[in-house]
Amino acid sequence: MTEEIIIAGFGGQGVLSMGKILAYSGIMQDQEVSWMPSYGPEMRGGTANVTVILSDERISSPYLKVFDTAIILNQQSMDKFEESVKPGGILLYEPNGISQHPTRTDINIYQIDGNKISTEMGNKKIFNMVVLGAYLKIKPTVELNNVIEGLKKSLPERYHHLIPLNEEAITKGMNSVKLYTIENQVC
């Protein structure tokens, strides 16, 4: 198994940390992992993306052109990465702030309303965990208990009391992800 993922959105949305937790979760189940961020002048409000690869084999290129899964959190990233999903692959996106919805018919498209769910839960910071949950529902590449172990590894100990909240956010994400079809598109 090799899963090649791009996660892209605004800086501050937790793009890089979502990727890091995914990578840690992969390590927890003995997978090879790589996490390659876009780095540079990007910061809060700018764009940020990270390529995460989980594999049972040694990973070759950490930098890719096409992906099995794209997790898209803003319009700029949609413009850039919709085309990079492999045919038959997955595009999961957060519809807030998206004006041009995806149009490809050769991929599977899903929506997760991470903003709404995290706001309802009273903590916008767990937005990325809601999205991660949605992804794991579509593609259970890593097991939930390994994600929790991954969280323990990647979060400083002073934040460990927040792990149950993160787990709840992941579960909410799992239960709220929706298949998006061109028919149910709101024009």
Binding site: G40, Y63, L64
Partner: protein, 366 residues
């Protein structure tokens, strides 16, 4: 026993330096290398092993601190990125001339000038063709993974002390910034002053006791003596070529076409090999792990087997010259690489092989 972690290449290198029992690090921050000094400052290795970590006032100060500390037989490390390495070159030439062991890390960014902070491999010439002035070479290790960023620290010091010569770890922004699994070795004790004296008293300035005084200098105004020194250096480089060449072959056994790539480009070319084979093109990869010494003979021999070679580098064509020198016109050799901080994709690399090597065959044959 080793410890498994998820780390950036830069962090893994810094942690490995502490664990390898390095005595001192002198550096100055610059993207995309800054995590090295940031990690060391956060980890406070002076509390763990007594290792000195100092942010110098400039790259030039840092490399001269390396010169001073290396003169005493201690294990000394510095790191920077391209423009900072340019500043260090005078000091690196002096280290080579004075025959001092030290490890220098370059996490390359795009140039020339201030260039870009994004990944690049445009410092190949600077690394293997001197860089600084005079007849010298650096032993150059090119890591292609976070694991190698960690492992090469100890390897580099082994070579530096074996030959009493500066060693360069040539990384880049991609390997420095990415995170992968890394197995970290157990902590090695730093050598005590007594142990350093015992090992290096023949040359290092360890405090004169009952011996002739040791003088560390790169200056020799008597031409015969200076020539003898240069000859001694050349002997070391010959020995490095004989004993310490490192490279890796990937799917070369039946390869008809060959990629040559090091560091981050080797990872990308490895994927290009997989994509090529999925299309029925028998491609393989030679990854030089040391850029000096260079796997000249390996390439010369592979040129009898393959129809063409593509040198894949994140630059405008540097290592390709060494590939051509190695294969002595036996087969066509072309270059492909993006610059300016753009990273080529595996698909682009394969396309370049098809365009520049495979599709050109019929033209060449007629």
């Amino acid at each position: 026993m080793s410890e498994l972690k998820l780390m950036k290449g830069n962090e893994a290198l810094a942690e490995a330096a502490i664990r390898a029992g390095v005595d001192a690090y002198f550096g100055y921050p610059i993207t995309p290398q800054s995590e090295v000094i940031e990690y060391l400052m956060t980890e406070r290795p002076e509390d763990r092993t007594g290792m000195v970590v100092l942010q110098a006032e400039s790259e030039i100060a840092a490399i001269n601190m390396v010169y001073g500390a290396a003169s005493t037989g201690k294990k000394v490390l510095t790191s920077s990125s391209s423009p900072g390495i340019s500043l260090k070159l005078e000091g690196i030439s002096y280290l080579a001339g004075a025959e001092l062991p030290a490890v220098i890390v370059n996490v390359v960014r795009g140039g020339p000038g201030l260039g870009t902070i994004q990944p690049s491999q445009a410092d190949y010439f600077q690394s293997v063709k001197g860089g600084g002035h005079g007849d010298y070479k650096l032993y150059v290790l090119a890591p292609a993974s976070v694991q190698e960023m960690a492992d090469f620290v100890e390897d580099a010091f082994d070579i530096a002390f074996k030959y009493r010569a500066p060693v360069l770890i040539l990384s880049d922004g991609l390997i420095g910034q990415m995170m992968e699994k890394v197995f970290l070795k157990d902590q090695q004790e730093r050598l005590t002053d007594e142990e350093v004296i015992k090992r290096h008293d023949s040359w290092a300035v360890t405090g004169k006791t009952n011996r002739e005084r040791n003088i560390i200098t790169s200056l020799d105004l008597q031409s015969e003596k200076m020539e003898a020194r240069v000859r001694r250096l050349m002997k070391k480089y010959e020995q490095m070529e004989k004993e310490d060449l490192r490279y890796e072959e990937y799917q070369t056994e039946d390869a008809e076409y060959l990629f040559v790539a090091y560091g981050s480009s080797a990872r990308i070319a490895q994927k290009a090999v997989q994509l090529a084979r999925a299309k029925g093109i028998k491609a393989g990869l030679l990854r030089p792990i040391t850029l000096f010494p260079y796997p000249k003979q390996v390439l010369f021999d592979l040129a009898d087997q393959v129809k063409g070679i593509l040198s894949v580098e994140l630059n405008a064509g540097q290592m390709v010259e060494d590939v051509r020198l190695s294969v002595e016109h036996k087969v066509p050799v072309e270059h492909f690489g993006r610059t300016g901080g753009i990273i080529h994709t595996p698909e682009e690399v394969l396309e370049a092989l098809e365009l520049k090597i495979i599709n050109n065959e019929c033209i060449r044959h007629h």
